[in-house]
Symmetry: C2
Subunit: 582 residues, 2 copies
């Protein structure tokens, strides 16, 4: 309750507290310093005061440890963890994450508003402050077939939910810069109700200013210090991203100054299951920033209050009177690793394990509408992977995959032909790539070639393929590719490894083809089995499914493949495999 008389009574010293964390060193994000040897006095889930000890129903002597605000992720796609929110919290809470802004962009591309509503429903009654941003760009572009298309009118009702704190990353920055009416209508919707988050990798100069002039207030795509400085200068909140796919803190941390730190915060964007469990979450970003030279208290403030402030969350992100008692306890200010985590003044995680009771199974939302979302074309078969050659002297375009980047190379290489057909050539690391429309919207299949996966025999398939999440298959031969696609259809989605017509391993993702319905632990185990089989295939990369998932992403340079065909992103159009260009 706002203006809670019981909280006020405890603050002024006239009533006993629910909980006191005594003998604490408190991280103060307002003054960016540390208060030694004080007590954090808690009542009704909120902080009453910082200072002298007092009567309390419970008392925890933290023994001189640090007490700071819980961490908040300013922007992430929970689908990247392959977990439902109810499982996500089991891994994230022990890392001190007490708040997060989910952009349910991936599930929205598959299942539309009902998919977003599922995540919002599953996020209820959990011991974490789970906020949402309404996904702004579904589908990501007109050059691919998604499961849904969302207009401003579709998104508007979401803002009736107080947990929706923003319009999510406006990725269609060309659409903003060129003032497309439907894009601006979405921006207006966000500004009318909340704020509008941005996404504009590499956008600089006048185009950047046009994008900001539209009312977009943040960016999490900076990869260089110069870019981040320019975006701060023009008024953006800059989220330093440290996820699984993109890790930008080292390049950006030098940008943060005492003057602009309140304009900076952290996000992960994408966080894979094993990384979340083993490396951590925003705590990892904070440690990384400190290791790169940032002042520890500033790093913690960026991981908490500065995010809360940006999203206008008055009661979150600080150890101060009136704030929710969302707290982390840790021992090393230079490498904060929470050993106790509190939400609303309740211990929810300790020593790496969530201690809050799991949500009762009967409170889980119905997920039937998320299942069986992977549909193959009626005439599907290995023959659908054939690529006829129409010009026997032409070269072919090849996607140059970089395992550590979303950006691909647009290569042109000599073709290998057999019987009038363009074929793979493992000796040159030239594999076939297919993106199969899987939403039951026509079953088109885009075909092309890719280099970089480095295995000679077999196929990998995944229903995680940004942003439309069509069925993406890479392989050395059409038979294994067909098998891999059929296996995933059976499970309603997932990731699998096939060789010689046999399924070596499969990670089922039956919810929208994106999320597991297993426990976090079982999921991590399944993923490790899949990655082990990938290594057996001879693929040198730790997790080739990650770069594979970005090969269909038609809004990130340079050459991509959608179900519509090869996409020349720089020219933003479909191109043929064979080319007479250099």
């Amino acid at each position: 309750m706002p203006a809670d008389p019981e909280l006020i009574a405890v603050a002024r010293g006239d009533a006993p507290a629910d909980l006191v964390l005594s003998n604490a060193r408190v991280i103060n994000v307002f003054t960016r310093d540390i208060e030694d040897n004080v007590n954090v006095v808690i009542k009704n889930g909120a902080i009453a005061r910082i200072g002298d000890d007092t009567d309390a129903a419970h008392r925890i002597d933290v023994g001189g440890s640090y007490v700071g605000p819980g961490f908040i992720d300013a922007h992430m796609h929970v689908e990247s963890t392959m977990m439902r929110p109810s499982e996500f919290v089991r891994l994230a809470l022990p890392h001190g994450t007490t708040g997060v802004v989910f952009d349910p962009h991936e599930i929205a591309n598959v299942c539309g508003i009902p998919g977003m509503r599922f995540l919002m429903d599953d996020a209820r009654d959990l011991p974490m402050r789970i906020m949402f941003a309404a996904s702004s760009c579904v589908p990501a572009s007109h050059l691919e077939t998604a499961g849904a298309a969302l207009s401003a009118d579709d998104l508007a009702p979401l803002f009736d939910d107080d947990r929706v704190v923003a319009l999510a990353e406006m990725m269609n920055f060309p659409g903003v810069v060129h003032a497309f009416p439907d894009v601006l209508e979405k921006v207006r919707l966000g500004l009318e109700h909340r704020i509008v988050d941005g996404h504009c990798p590499g956008l600089r100069g006048d185009e950047l200013q046009a994008y900001i002039a539209a009312g977009i207030s943040s960016d999490h795509e900076c990869t260089t210090a110069d870019e981040a400085r320019e975006k701060l200068r023009r008024g953006m909140q800059v989220y330093l991203r440290e996820g699984s796919a993109a890790r930008n803190i080292e390049a950006l941390v030098s940008v943060v100054t005492a003057e602009n730190a309140h304009r900076c915060c952290f996000c992960t964007d994408d966080r894979h299951p094993g990384d979340l469990r083993d490396e951590g979450h925003i705590d990892h970003a904070v440690r990384r920033a400190i290791a790169c030279g940032l002042d520890p208290v500033t790093a913690i403030a960026m991981g908490s209050r500065h995010t809360a402030q940006h999203y206008n969350q008055r009661e979150l992100g600080a150890v101060a009177p009136g704030m929710r008692a969302d707290l982390v306890v840790f021992d090393d200010a230079r490498a904060p690793s929470p050993r106790q985590v509190f939400v609303d003044g309740v211990l929810v995680a300790e020593d790496g394990v969530m201690t809050a009771p799991p949500r009762a199974a009967d409170r889980a939302p119905d997920d039937a509408h998320l299942r069986n979302t992977v549909h193959l074309p009626d005439d599907f078969g290995a023959h659908r992977f054939r690529i006829e050659s129409s010009n026997p002297t032409a070269n072919i375009r090849v996607i140059g995959m970089n395992p550590h980047s979303l950006v691909t190379e647009h290569l042109v290489m000599p073709a290998t032909r057999r019987d009038g057909e363009l074929v793979t050539d493992p000796d040159r690391d030239l594999l076939k790539l297919a993106v199969i429309e899987r939403h039951g919207k026509g079953g088109s299949i885009g075909l092309g070639f890719v280099t970089g996966f480095g295995f000679r025999d077999g196929a990998l398939a995944s229903t995680v393929g940004h942003d439309s999440h069509n069925l993406t298959v890479v392989g050395s031969n059409d038979i294994d590719m067909e098998k891999a696609a059929r296996v995933l259809t059976k499970y309603g989605g997932g990731q699998c490894v096939v060789r010689g017509g046999k399924v070596l391993a499969c990670l089922p993702l039956p919810l929208a083809g994106l999320l597991s319905d297993e426990s976090a632990e079982a999921l991590v185990e399944q993923q490790q089995q899949v990655l082990e089989k990938v290594r057996e295939l001879g693929c040198p990369h730790h997790d080739p499914f990650m770069p594979l998932s970005f090969l269909p992403l038609s809004v990130i340079p340079t050459l991509k493949l959608s179900d519509q065909g090869l996409v020349d992103v720089n020219r933003f159009r479909i191109v043929t495999v064979e080319t007479t260009e250099d």
Copy 2:
């Protein structure tokens, strides 16, 4: 229009601007530095971009001058200027004030919600971003009779107006700290809709934390650096106040650091007509802070963006794309004195004069309900100023007036008696003080003695008397006091000087007894005449009406006088004039 396609087109360079300020040195409040030799490109009242020159319908070469955001006053009572908003802007705009948060607390105490609505109506269609805070404490206490009493239910409809950005200063801090239900109901109203501004002079320690725990987010009453540091540490936005009555910048400026400057801003609270015209407004506060050692760009940011941020005004307070083109042009960064002022990209003031056209007379709101608000008791006459002595050996309590402070002394002095009556004694600077209930609510009169005015013969009267604005009269004799009260009744309020039964000067304030209906220039002239006559009376103070207006303020220590009688503020009760205490 948010996400304006025309603005975006100008930003990206595809359409001509409305206005370019060329050859500018731009104050950047985000990075807190200065960009040299750039152009500010404006379209449809907003800033499109900062950078290279471009085609424009109009162009102003500022010749290397500074261009900064217009100044915003975080908290003021426009009634202190005695001007309607439509006249206030004529003096404030030339000083670079492009935004202000008015707390219409004074007029609310006289006329209730209709009084606040009058100011809100009069503030329409003016070239300034006039925001409002809903006055939280009407009346200020139960120890005086105000013209209105406002509950949370009365205030709630005000929040339907987007210009209402906060619940105004919650002065009843004991009521918050002790969790009075009606007080907390108002705090909840503010938190539900916007934010709640504070007012807690000298509040420290656990009581301060109780006040903040209620959800109150700012304070503008700090008088010492230690107090300001403590309030910042506990999460408050601190407004450094530099008004006419209270001038705190010199004492507080050392508190501001690079880390906490975004938690600091400026306000004036009260600004008298002559000071506003001659010294300035927030520009004066900025200059004062710089003179006291603050970094100029930081001072400007505190006078603009930091206030806008606190009140969640996305488009105000910065020279950056998408912001409203509310700008000041000045030559000396170490003493910013705006020579040109723009609002919505239109030149509204230049070289000390408002150049925007005045609002058409027929757009002025009806003010009939604000007139004739000064009512004397039916049996009014000089006899009502008699103070009978009931104990011929007792001493008397005397208000020790300090011309530079709202705080009075609680003095005990020997009485001067004549015919069983307690009388004035100009030889000892002992004058009589009367506060006459003037709202037609019973006509009670509080009587007492005051020292400090220093004139021997005559009377001063004023209908400006915080916070109930009863008719306050100080004089050497009952005849002149009666005359002074009757004169003000005739004018419907004001301030006057009387001697020997003659009115020496009068400043009429016919609107609620608080506001002039004349032009700003005429008002300043009238006030100067009144102050001249004050000097003729032998009063040594520049403006004794200022301390006079605070003598009825029953919530500021130490001894005050309301229409109910002498108020011992520390004990918060009415006390007798005669006393046997020391």
